[in-house]
Symmetry: C2
Subunit: 250 residues, 2 copies
């Protein structure tokens, strides 16, 4: 028996997130279908996190156990032949039996992508939130620094979340502009339900001048959802990188 860690990418536009759900197509079930074609049996697969409907992944990891002796490169090629165009496998490694795609993960990086052109653009459509208004990225970046460190982020969590521990440590938070493309990068040891999308909505209210960058700390400390901004749309959000203790794994 081998435990395999697979890295995939997907355009989440057509899926109701990662997790298998009744009456909705999930990335997980489509990946399981493809593996079933390749391995001739349907494996249980364990993802590194849930992702919301419509969210994308530049790097998503899952593991599963198999007795099949297929070579790992052949597994990737065979998976890709059986996956739809909007999901692709990119790497596969054998890992130890105590490895778990979710519980062995030490940090994740998300990026929220905003297209700040004046007019919409067909090549900034999937994976971009179209926001054609003036944005002060320096102010956003100043505000984002207040997310850094260990905080109770319960004010940045939608009510659907079922977390008992809402304290997270953010190790990276920065906003960058490249022409009309604006990206908010945030890395943490874990994320609450809708946390990055609420952070983004809050940063956008700073960009518009409705909030001041130095209000952020008080806003986090208030532990109140009402203080933060709206939840930005799912379409701009990407799970960008997944970190494990042993970086040789991927």
């Amino acid at each position: 028996m081998r435990r395999l860690l697979v890295t995939i990418r997907y355009d989440g536009s057509q899926y109701h997130g990662w997790q298998v759900q009744k009456n909705a197509t999930s990335v997980q079930s489509v990946v399981q279908d493809a593996l079933q074609q390749v391995l001739q049996s349907r494996p249980d697969i364990h993802g590194c996190s849930r992702t919301d409907a419509g969210v994308h992944a530049r790097e998503y990891c899952f593991h599963f156990d198999t007795d099949h002796i297929i070579e790992l490169d052949h597994l990737i090629l065979a998976m890709n032949r059986n996956l739809p165009d909007d999901i692709a496998a990119g790497a596969c490694k054998q890992v130890s039996d105590d490895f778990h795609a979710r519980y062995s993960c030490v940090a994740k990086q998300y990026v929220y992508q905003i297209y700040n052109g004046r007019f919409r653009d067909p090549f900034h459509d999937r994976g971009w939130y179209f926001y054609p208004y003036q944005m002060d990225v320096d102010r956003m970046n100043e505000a984002a620094q207040h997310f850094l460190g260990r905080h109770d982020f319960i004010g940045f969590c939608s009510v659907g979340g079922k977390m008992h521990d809402t304290v997270r440590t953010v190790s990276e938070a920065r906003v960058e502009r490249d022409g009309d493309e604006v990206r908010f990068y945030v890395t943490a040891d874990g994320f609450l339900y809708n946390m990055v999308r609420i952070m983004t909505g809050t940063l956008l209210s700073v960009a518009q001048g409705k909030k001041q960058p130095n209000e952020m700390s008080g806003l986090i400390a208030s532990c109140s959802r009402a203080g933060a901004g709206v939840t930005a749309p799912a379409n701009g959000l990407w799970l960008n990188r997944v970190f494990y203790e042993n970086p040789a794994l991927k």
Copy 2:
């Protein structure tokens, strides 16, 4: 009466090129439909070039005449509300009555985009030719230099072309790698039918070692289609920039 020059972008995947055709959806007819909604009359529109089925445009220009007094920014916004997601208007300028989107054009830049990753990638799908084999980009670039200058490119023209004059002047030809992304940029005063796709197919045979870079000049001089490489797929080709004598126009 005003003559207006409009710049659009489009993802050509779902279209049979720019030109209106029987029994096939063209970009031109979809743009005319949108303008009809906005202007309440259907204008004749004149594009800067034909593009093949499946080819994309990062910048495509057309002109038309109208008596409508709509402000130019409003025209763009109104067009975008009436266009499908894969076509977007980006700019509009008033031009002189003797301007013609096609005949006033002094040069065009195309880019052919190749995704050279090992495995296919959902985010290098539309607009990229997936080529997972080894590519020597330095050799391709060396070969591309032979395209520069004034040559008869009849050997790089598909038989469907109806050109009587097949001499063109190429002012830019270079191949660049950025990670797994390889781009072939070519600028000329005009292009023959399938010329960039045949150039790309020829450069790929150089990349594979089937042809030598220094064979290019002889190959062009032979004026024989048989000497050049295969026609690369439409999906990787983009009309990237359109140049007019007066750069203030766009």
